[in-house]
């Protein structure tokens, strides 16, 4: 059985270590905060200028001056600090954030990441994604293993080389999909399969992966 979105998030949460400062993207990454292991304390960074991001507010407590990078209303914690966008991205670019978990359209076996534009479609912009993948110490991608096309066919998202415009070159350290977990060596050592979702076979994951990978289960 492939992992559900919740199970992908739970697996990603195992990458959190006590004392980490973490930036979570929109979508599955946001779910990761529901699975922080017991005894592990992490602070969530929101790149619009906040450390120590709390949960959504109770109805009626929404504050228009307090939003996350997805523009959602949130709350503060006893640990919270606020700062400017320049200071926020100084923190990101300077390598002070331990972990970034984000989604992807494509990941290549060398760690290249594409998640911001599809030529021919309306381009919304890269926001802070290029800064995050370039600056954060460890970049973990969570995504569906394959893309489902409109005609019902499937396309591989783990590729030999991305064909979409890159968000970052050689930036991804780990990929967690519904089928398993891959690590990518930052020194050019390539991609390794390190975990399979329960019930997923090596055959299945191999057939759905264009990228070359070592098996290191």
């Amino acid at each position: 059985m492939p992992w559900t979105r919740e199970q992908i998030a739970a697996r990603a949460a195992k990458e959190l270590k006590d004392g980490y400062y973490v930036n979570l993207g929109i979508g599955i990454p946001t779910l990761v905060s529901n699975y922080i292991p017991a005894g592990v304390s992490v602070q969530l960074q929101s790149e619009n200028g906040m450390l120590g991001m709390g949960p959504f507010p109770y109805e009626g407590d929404e504050d228009p001056d307090l939003i996350n990078a997805g523009k959602q209303t949130i709350t503060e914690l006893p640990t919270t600090s606020y700062f400017s966008s320049a200071d926020s991205f100084g923190m990101i670019r300077g390598g002070h954030i331990d972990l970034s978990i984000l989604g992807a359209m494509q990941v290549a076996q060398n760690g290249d990441l594409a998640n911001w534009m599809i030529p021919g479609k309306v381009v919304k912009g890269m926001g802070g994604a290029m800064d995050l993948v370039a600056g954060v110490k460890k970049v973990v991608v969570v995504m569906e293993h394959v893309a489902k096309n409109k005609d019902g066919s499937e396309s591989a998202k783990l590729l030999k080389a991305c064909d979409l415009p890159l968000t970052g070159a050689g930036v991804v350290d780990m990929v967690i999909t519904d089928l398993g977990v891959f690590s990518i060596d930052e020194n050019g050592g390539g991609m390794s399969l390190i975990e399979l979702a329960e019930g997923v076979t090596l055959e299945e994951i191999t057939s759905k992966t264009e990228a070359a990978f070592k098996v290191a289960l």
Partner: protein
């Protein structure tokens, strides 16, 4: 001292804005945007404006209202989703757009205000953003050179200001406002609370008054919420 205080947004912009100028507008999404100063830009009728702003507002709010009147010629932004009119005008070739990664945008503005014409960053190396830019290796890592940004006018929103122009921002409404305040020839601030100089603790000021040339007390900033997300109270 109170020479900096103007009665309203329209008066604060009067005589300052001209066709073809470059402006900065603070805010992230609709959070911390100088909405009443943007309305005053609309009323001024100034055309062919370049706006440096992280986003382009939404339909009918923020910079979105200047798209309706076609006063914007070019945007320098990191993200312009949430705005159909923007997409329309861009696809019709009526609007120029320069995408800059959010952190690079913030730093370019800070650099412009701090007299730094260019700096190196690893953000965007190996991507479309790097095209046409100088690339250089420092200590074995690749970086690209980015340029500082400086505007004719900056429009910012603050929670509190004093008659000397010192500003304090509130929570995540701070975002791009402090850097933009420092990076123009004429910075105009709209503040929710205006107090006499001396009332704000000088250790708590986010923007020193030197950067703010004109200040307006606004009591009716819209402060809209884009994504109202909540959790239920336990029964």
């Amino acid at each position: 001292m109170s020479k900096k205080v103007f009665p309203d947004a329209k008066a604060a912009l009067a005589g300052a804005i001209k066709d073809g100028m470059t402006l900065m507008a603070g805010g992230f999404g609709l959070c911390g945007i100088p909405d009443l100063l943007i309305e005053a830009v609309r009323e001024s009728g100034a055309k062919d404006l370049t706006f440096i702003s992280n986003n382009a507002g939404i339909d009918g709010a923020g910079l979105g209202i200047l798209l309706e009147t076609r006063q914007i010629k070019k945007m320098i932004s990191s993200y312009v989703g949430e705005n159909k009119l923007f997409a329309q005008q861009f696809l019709a070739g009526e609007l120029e757009l320069e995408f800059t990664p959010q952190g690079t945008l913030a730093e370019r503005i800070r650099a412009g205000g701090a007299g730094i014409p260019a700096f190196f960053t690893k953000t965007g190396v190996g991507t479309l953003v790097a095209e046409g830019k100088e690339e250089r290796v420092f200590d074995g890592e690749r970086y690209i050179m980015e340029r500082g940004l400086f505007a004719d006018i900056s429009l910012v929103h603050a929670w509190k200001g004093d008659t000397e122009g010192n500003l304090v921002y509130r929570k995540t409404a701070r975002n791009f406002n402090p850097m933009m305040a420092s990076a123009s020839r004429l910075t105009i601030a709209q503040v929710e609370h205006l107090v006499p100089a001396g009332e704000i603790d000088p250790d708590h000021m986010h923007t020193p008054g030197i950067f703010v040339k004109r200040i307006v007390h606004v009591t009716n900033a819209a402060k809209r919420i884009e994504q109202r997300t909540t959790r239920k109270r336990a029964a």
